[in-house]
């Protein structure tokens, strides 16, 4: 199952856990399953139930996804929430 790395500013929601293994085939499923386990996480990383929160990006196995919540999550992948970056 995917391993989600929890940003340090959100770890009070996961009782200090830095990584959480959670099921889900898409990013939306992973976040909803995470939220079921640790209520409040979804509100922090999802904007109005349709997109990743502004300012955040999600890296799946080192690659920042541009497919948003519908991104397919391979089993045993690493999921990171990182700050989003815009170029010049």
């Amino acid at each position: 199952m995917p391993e989600v790395w929890i940003p340090s500013l959100m770890r009070k929601l996961t009782d200090g856990q830095e990584k959480v293994v959670v099921g889900g085939n898409t990013l939306r499923e992973v976040i909803e399953n995470l939220d079921a386990q640790f209520p409040g996480i979804k509100d922090r990383v999802v904007y109005e139930d349709y997109r990743i929160a502004p300012g955040l990006a999600v890296a799946i196995d080192g690659v920042v996804t541009e497919e948003g919540l519908r991104t397919q999550i391979p089993p045993d992948s690493e999921v990171h929430f990182v700050t989003s970056i815009a170029g010049g």
Partner: protein, 766 residues
């Protein structure tokens, strides 16, 4: 000179990629025929100018435009009250950020407050620009001047004047109770920072400051807009993304995107500063009021005062290493000036600053801070040059304390494929080691630098590059040429680098491709030319478009020969029957047969590639410091950069040299100088000191090629990373020359001289 590390996908015999042909836009550019925004003149066109705030922070009590409106020649006046009155609380999803439409409108023309000197307050359209400017003097604005804040650290204090009275701090989705100029705070944490420093034998900690600097594009912002009687708005402008202008203008004016057509003209530089729509919505409003096309051109002073420079910053960096030369801990705080509205590039700085290294224990805090300066915009590797300046100075000092060669220290701690980045994810195939090795073995590094007050510095840097959405469409002509339309504004020669990828697929010369940049009604949605994404993503669209053409042409060959499509193969521009090799025809000859085999062939493709490959660079800089004046001369500068695969090496080298030139200006002279009233005191290129050719040696560009597995030809993107390492390399070179660690940019003559006097006393004689 290219240092090629490996071939990609077994391609060893590129026919077009990697060559140095004549660029498609060359003749128009060198003969002055290329059409820029200021060249455009339409019948019955009006000219407009903008009234700007004389105050750094003030509330607008009233605006009286009546005297301006009756001046002979004036046709219309607009203020913030003309903008999107029905869009007060709407939100606009701009991809990487969701912003209030109210804020977008307020940034274009003030509604309630002005937030920096130069803030747009009103605009006048007249029969000529002189009348428009005269009319500005007749507009009476009553201000209530408010306390302002310019310094980023001052702005973070609880008792600082608030730029926005309703702004709270967001921390990874959580909102503070108190109002603050700190728009957002984030933290990156890896390992155990206390354990990391406990393991360190050598620790260096320093604080750094950098000032706002401008991109310095030569062509000022300009726009011409016609709001036609049928409701269609046509915009001719100089911008890095026609679709971005269309979307922003539609949001601000509250009209559908289908009502707007943006025609991109040639662009005289952007570097990230020509993404926002500053003038287009104003010119549109004036055109709607008058029924005439309206043209606006910023003066240089307006460009400096009121477009988006990159953030000034305060950065603290603490790093530790073991006595055997291994980095074990890095801690940093970064506070970036966003200017009037949130959105500084502090996130990019924080994520990229430690990317060249393997560091097991990391703690990074970033703060996006608003203040009474112009709203910051992207600038070439946004936010990362500031951060690299801080980190690479500290890395240099650690190497010195450990008695290790600075490049060897970087090599022994280098990030590589499979190692974990400081911000969490694991690296894909990257090329930092290869860049460092190329630098170590270079003539520059192997040639001793002698002489008093001379020194050499090195530094590394990283930029993640961008992907995004691109579109391409092409039609095959009967003479075997192809008309290619793409959606990316051509900055730095991307027409050619995109066309070359199409030519490579089709086995034809790039001169047989005629690339054009389409308007927003002529090509599919394409993201901004920024993030070093165009040769990567639009090139990929052209690659896919060429594959589409190839498939269609193979079908035509099958029809011509009355054989199965499966029996046709294609190689190096020649179609051939697999079962009967005597049946063979070139791309050009087959193109002549299209009418008799079903009609025209058109290809089209969109691309939203995910295989973005980040890029590294290493800089070596030699300087000579004049201890009498503090002036620093650049004696020699080299840049070693992983391009993935250089599609058109001359453009890659040009990007590398341009990035280094801008970094040297940033390092030595460029800065926004505000007085205590918040007035910008150097808003001309006479006083805002950019480097000229007389300040720079020929910059030696060394392309390193570690192909990106995420692109058909291994492209990584090259436009931004060369600006990242040189500022630190200059700082390290100054230290090597005179023994002073300078921790504030720019390292201008007064700062160098003061530091020299502080060190040596009195007049600094040594």
């Amino acid at each position: 000179m290219a240092v090629q590390q490996e071939d990609y996908l077994g391609i060893t015999d590129y026919k077009v990629v990697g060559t140095r042909p004549v660029r498609h836009d060359g003749a128009d550019k060198v003969t002055g025929r290329a059409i820029y925004g200021t060249d455009l003149n339409l019948p019955d066109m009006l000219h407009a100018s903008v009234l700007r705030s004389p105050h750094a922070h003030a509330r607008i009590k009233s605006i009286d435009t009546s005297k301006a409106e009756v001046l002979e020649g004036v046709r219309a006046v607009v203020t913030g009250q003309d903008l999107a009155l029905n869009a007060e609380e709407q939100l606009a999803d701009l991809g990487e950020e969701v912003v209030r439409v109210k804020d977008m409108c307020a940034a274009v023309l003030a509604r309630e407050k002005v937030l920096y000197q130069g803030y747009p307050v009103a605009a006048v359209a007249a029969t000529n620009v002189h009348i428009a400017e005269e009319a500005l003097d007749l507009i009476e604005v009553e201000y209530e001047v408010l306390p302002h804040v310019l310094d980023v650290r001052e702005a973070m204090k609880d008792d600082a004047p608030l730029v926005h009275e309703d702004q709270r701090t967001k921390s990874m989705g959580e909102q503070s109770e108190n109002f603050s100029n700190v728009a957002s705070h984030f933290r990156t944490e890896l390992g155990d920072i206390e354990q990391g420093f406990a393991e360190a034998d050598v620790i260096v900690e320093r604080e750094f400051r950098t000032d706002m600097v401008h991109q310095g594009y030569i062509e000022p912002q300009n726009a011409t807009v016609l709001w036609n009687a049928d409701g269609v708005v046509t915009i001719w402008c100089s911008n890095q993304g026609a679709f971005g202008v269309r979307d922003q203008t539609a949001r601000i004016l509250g009209i559908p995107v289908s009502q707007i057509k943006v025609v991109p003209l040639e662009i005289g530089g952007g570097f990230g500063g020509k993404i926002k729509a500053y003038l287009e919505p104003i010119a549109a409003l004036l055109s709607r009021k008058t029924g005439h096309p309206v043209k606006m051109i910023m003066s240089r002073t307006e460009v400096l005062q009121a477009t988006g420079p990159t953030s000034g910053s305060w950065i603290r960096v603490k790093m530790g290493a073991t006595k055997d030369g291994k980095l074990v801990a890095a801690e940093s705080e970064l506070a970036y000036e966003a200017g009037a509205f949130s959105g500084s590039p502090v996130g990019a700085g924080a994520r990229n600053m430690l990317a060249p290294y393997i560091i097991p224990h990391v703690l990074v805090d970033g703060y996006d801070v608003v203040n009474n300066k112009p709203s910051s915009s992207a600038y070439r590797a946004p936010g990362t040059t500031n951060a690299a300046y801080a980190v690479e100075t500290v890395v240099d000092e650690l190497a010195e304390k450990l008695g290790v060669d600075p490049l060897e220290f970087r090599l022994s701690n280098s990030a590589k494929e499979g190692t974990r980045r400081a911000d969490g994810p694991v690296n894909k195939r990257i090329g930092h080691e290869e860049c460092v090795r190329a630098a170590v073995s270079s003539d520059h590094y192997q040639t001793a630098l002698d002489g008093k007050y001379r020194g050499r510095g090195v530094a590394s840097g990283f930029w993640g590059n961008g992907g995004g959405v691109s579109s391409a469409a092409a039609s095959v002509n009967a003479d075997g040429t192809i008309n290619l339309v793409e959606g990316s504004t051509d900055i730095g020669g991307t027409r050619t680098s995109v066309a070359m990828q199409m030519a490579e697929v089709l086995g034809i010369s790039e001169q047989q491709i005629r690339p054009q940049v389409g308007d927003t009604d002529s090509i599919g949605y394409t993201g901004v030319t920024g993030g070093s994404r165009t040769t990567f993503a639009t090139g990929w669209a052209a690659y896919k478009c060429a594959q589409d053409i190839k498939e269609q042409m193979m079908a035509r060959a099958a029809m011509l020969w009355e054989i199965s499509e499966d029996d046709v193969e294609f190689d190096q521009g020649v179609f051939q029957s697999k079962s009967d090799p005597s049946k063979s025809i070139t791309f050009k000859d087959l193109a002549a047969q299209l009418d008799s085999t079903g009609g025209p062939v058109m290809g089209r493709a969109t691309a939203k590639p995910t295989g973005v490959g980040g890029a590294y660079a290493v800089a070596i800089v030699d300087v000579e410091v004049d201890p009498d004046t503090g002036k620093v001369d650049i004696l020699r500068a080299s840049i070693f950069q992983d391009a993935g695969k250089a599609i058109y090496p001359p453009y890659v080298e040009g990007q590398m040299q341009g990035g280094v030139a801008q970094a040297i200006g940033w390092a030595l002279n460029e800065e926004y100088v505000y007085d205590e009233d918040g007035i910008l005191r150097n808003s001309s290129l006479l006083d805002y000191r950019m480097p000229t050719c007389l300040d720079l040696p020929m910059i030696e560009a060394h392309i390193v090629e570690v192909p990106n597995p995420g692109h058909p030809y291994g492209v990584r993107g090259v436009g931004e990373v060369p600006i990242v390492p040189p500022t630190a390399a200059v700082a390290n070179a100054i230290y090597d020359a005179i023994g002073l660690r300078l921790t504030e940019l720019p390292m201008s003559p007064p700062r160098v001289l003061e530091a020299w006097w502080d060190k040596n006393g009195g007049n600094g004689s040594a």
